[in-house]
């Protein structure tokens, strides 16, 4: 059977989750691998939550917020930007390919971009193969 990646998507409520809603309203289809978690702001994403997702067996994690300058909470996305950049630096040490974490800026008007992002990310993780902790007994 073909490998189907398990993906978590952290979406901020104001831009990216609204963008995902727009993808729905415009019926832009994309693979169902990514399960969304809507948070108030991408700034709420604690990098340890991303690591926990991998520990639980995720193969990839998408973090998506408002475009720089457009954050509903002014600047939460800038914090996320730095935090994810730092996380990517240390992921190697955990035995994780940094490409398994993707940070995107998707606005409420970018339904098409959301669909395309999930499609690309799913294909990319398919190529990378299962995450290293997928079969570790919890």
């Amino acid at each position: 059977m073909e490998f189907e990646p398990k993906l978590i998507g952290f979406l901020c409520k104001w831009c990216s989750s609204a963008g995902a809603d727009l993808a729905g309203v415009s019926r832009k289809s994309y693979p169902p691998n990514l399960v969304p978690i809507t948070v108030n702001c991408s700034g709420r994403i604690d990098v340890s939550q991303i690591v926990k997702a991998f520990k639980d067996g995720a193969d990839g994690v998408l973090v998506s917020g408002c475009h720089p300058g457009d954050c509903h909470y002014t600047s939460g996305n800038y914090k996320t930007w730095r935090r994810v950049a730092l996380l990517k630096h240390v992921l190697d040490d955990f035995g994780l390919d940094p490409d398994r974490v993707r940070l995107e800026w998707i606005s409420a008007t970018e339904g098409e971009k959301f669909a395309q992002t999930v499609e690309d990310f799913t294909a990319e993780i398919k190529e990378l193969g299962p995450g290293p902790f997928r079969d570790v007994k919890k």
């Binding site: 398990k6 978590i8 104001w14 831009c15 989750s17 609204a18 995902a20 809603d21 727009l22 993808a23 729905g24 309203v25 019926r27 832009k28 289809s29 994309y30 693979p31 169902p32 399960v35 969304p36 978690i37 809507t38 948070v39 108030n40 702001c41 700034g43 709420r44 994403i45 604690d46 990098v47 340890s48 939550q49 926990k52 997702a53 639980d56 067996g57 995720a58 457009d70 954050c71 509903h72 909470y73 002014t74 600047s75 939460g76 914090k79 935090r83 606005s107 409420a108 008007t109 669909a115």
Partner: protein, 653 residues
């Protein structure tokens, strides 16, 4: 005995919208075995009255402590369902929405199990969240009952008058020296052909005289802080160098002023003096000295105007004044501009004098315009015998210009052609169009009448090129109906330029963190159900800043925005969302990292050396909670534990 949550899961079919792709009855069966889920059901339309009753009955009969509604996006009905659970005496925050429509059934193909599997994961995650939710009560707070209206065009005027009539104080801020906006420039208005100034200027006077409205013309909003109910705006009142109360409009200053520059009100078809009044019915009714045009105030280089002024109204020592005011609500009515004809390569990059835009033609038709209402072309003042009107200039052209329809051009072009034919009975009017869009009350009849009674020749097709030859404009186009190429020697070409948002839209969006859509217009909270609200609480939209509109639509939206503002301002107190950050003082080390991360200055280190949150200022983004090195901060109802369990439920086994 430890608290044991009892969660009910309600799965909506949304007709076929969800049930067509997701196996809803299977979901209801699967979820019943899940931890703490003690009830589940599916129903055709959960948001309908019978659907809502199912939820209320189940809460009472099954003694539910929490509710998950698996349905459309929370932006649609979260509030609806939270009100439903409140009616059954459950706290509104014990209800959460699992979005299985926009983010599942609508985007995944039918005919396999995967959408159902994904929906089940989303529901399980939502169950994990809601069973850990705490009940919360909104925090009540005082608010200002003043309203700020930004923009003094017809939409802003209407909004200001309505809010003021309801008894609230209004400050109306307008960038230019007069209110009235583009409507003041128009000759006559479709489809009734009332004179624009005749219907507008009484409203302008009303604004000026209304006891509840303070008009700040020639002023700009420089910064806004705060939040719904308690915005604080800093407004710059630029110096006009003329005391409006003393000025008696004699015009002596204008007469002696030696400087002539392009007249913006006449769209560049005329000149004005450095000291000027845009038009005689301008409000405030006073002169303004344009310092960019003036020979110089510092050092004073001319001062002829001041010497000519018998009323001693001119004061060169005026400077900008800055006003700071608190507002409960803000209405953004920043208006439109025309897409520059300089961008139209196919129509000569704006380099031909006799290729003008729609607003310029309005000025030519206007009795108060540069030609006194006679249609004379700019290059040599001749009355044009052949006029070509080109619709959709810059609109509906995604490859080269704007993709959207500017909505008003079909109507005003028909009006232009009609008024031209009335002014120049022997003249010929040609209109190039792609489609005629006349979807307003009495609009289609108006256009039919122009085509039949006024003998205006409508040619379906685009103009491919314009060229100047022998004092004429050669217009090459295609008549799609006959299939023939058309060549017209035009004396004047009028471009129905696309409508674009004015600069004010972007400036205001920066002050208030408003979303702009792809074309730069304000993005409303919901395109159909909340068309006058922004996603920023207490900020409403009126007029063309939100999208192309005609006058009746702008006025309607002005009144709509006013109604929303009045509704807000009439509340004795406002409730602040209780989803804020909490601090565990035992874990807090007092490092203060959170203080710098908060965009709202809601955090501080108190005298005990630990972090303290101001619940009224906290907007609940949770950025500080994720940045706290000791996990002392947590966002209510989106705690680390909740996120961890949601992730776990989503990944599955």
């Amino acid at each position: 005995m430890a608290f044991k949550p009892r969660i009910g899961v309600f799965i909506c079919h949304c007709g076929e919208n969800i049930a067509g792709t997701v196996d809803v009855s299977n979901l209801a069966e699967e979820i019943i075995g899940y931890d703490n889920v003690s009830f589940s059901t599916d129903y055709e339309y959960m948001c309908s009255d019978p659907g809502q009753n199912k939820i209320k009955e189940a809460i009472e009969e099954e003694n539910l402590t929490g509710v998950v509604v698996a349905a459309c996006s929370p932006s649609m009905h979260e509030d609806t369902f939270r009100r439903v659970v409140e009616e059954a005496d459950l706290n509104r925050y014990q209800c959460e929405i699992a979005n299985i429509r926009e983010q599942c059934s609508w985007v995944h193909g039918e005919g396999n199990d995967r959408p159902t599997e994904k929906a089940l994961k989303i529901i399980k995650g939502t169950v994990e969240k809601v069973k850990r939710n705490v009940s919360m009560e909104p925090v009540e707070r005082e608010h200002s009952d003043k309203c700020l209206v930004i923009g003094g065009g017809i939409a802003g005027i209407q909004a200001a008058l309505d809010v003021a009539e309801a008894g609230n104080e209004v400050i109306l801020v307008e960038k230019s020296p007069t209110i009235g906006g583009h409507m003041a420039q128009l000759s006559e208005t479709f489809p009734t052909l009332d004179c624009s100034q005749c219907i507008l200027t009484p409203k302008m006077v009303e604004v000026n005289q209304h006891p509840n409205i303070e008009l700040m013309a020639y002023s700009e909003v420089r910064g806004i802080s705060g939040y719904v109910g308690n915005y604080r705006a800093r407004i710059e009142r630029k110096p006009t160098y003329v005391d409006a109360d003393a000025c008696n409009l004699c015009g002596d200053c204008e007469e002696v002023c030696p400087v002539e520059v392009t007249d913006e009100f006449n769209q560049g078809l005329d000149t004005r003096k450095a000291i000027n009044i845009p038009f005689s019915q301008a409000i405030p009714s006073s002169y303004t000295l344009d310092t960019e045009a003036c020979l110089g105030l510092n050092p004073l280089r001319c001062s002829e105007c001041a010497e000519a002024c018998d009323a001693d109204a001119i004061n060169f020592d005026q400077t900008s004044e800055y006003v700071e005011e608190e507002f409960g609500a803000i209405i953004a009515a920043t208006g439109y501009d025309l897409y520059p004809k300089e961008k139209m390569g196919e129509y000569g990059y704006g380099e031909y004098d006799d290729v003008i835009d729609g607003l310029q033609f309005e000025r030519l038709l206007s009795a108060t315009g540069p030609t006194g209402g006679e249609v004379r072309r700019p290059s040599d003042g001749k009355v044009p015998e052949n006029v070509v009107f080109i619709q959709c200039s810059g609109s509906r052209d995604p490859e080269n210009h704007n993709s959207y329809c500017s909505k008003i051009c079909c109507m005003y072009t028909a009006k232009h052609a009609k008024l031209y034919r009335e002014t120049v009975p022997d003249g010929n009017a040609y209109v190039f169009y792609i489609d005629i869009r006349a979807g307003g009350k009495d609009y289609e009849e108006f256009i039919q009448n122009v085509r039949e009674e006024d003998r205006v020749l409508y040619l379906k097709g685009k103009v491919s090129k314009l060229k100047k030859a022998d004092g004429k404009m050669k217009v090459w186009g295609l008549d799609e109906i006959s299939g023939e190429r058309v060549e017209i020697d035009a004396d004047l070409v009028v471009l129905a330029q696309s409508i674009i948002p004015s600069e004010g839209a972007e400036e205001t969006s920066e002050h208030l963190n408003l979303n702009l859509g792809a074309n730069g217009f304000f993005k409303e909270a919901h395109p159909k159900l909340r068309p006058v609200e922004s996603l920023t609480g207490g900020v409403f939209y009126a007029g063309t800043g939100q999208g192309p509109k005609d006058i009746p639509d702008s006025v309607s939206q002005g009144s709509g925005a006013a109604a929303k503002a009045i509704d807000l301002l009439a509340k004795p107190t406002l409730s602040h969302d209780p989803q804020v950050v909490e601090i565990d003082e035992d874990l807090c080390s007092g490092c203060g990292l959170c203080v710098g991360q908060c965009p709202y200055d809601a955090l501080d280190i108190n005298s005990k050396g630990v972090a303290e949150v101001n619940e009224l200022l906290c907007e609940g983004c949770g950025t500080c909670a994720s940045g706290c090195p000791t996990n002392a901060l947590s966002l209510r109802n989106l705690t680390d534990e909740q996120l961890t369990e949601m992730i776990h439920a989503h990944i599955g086994d």
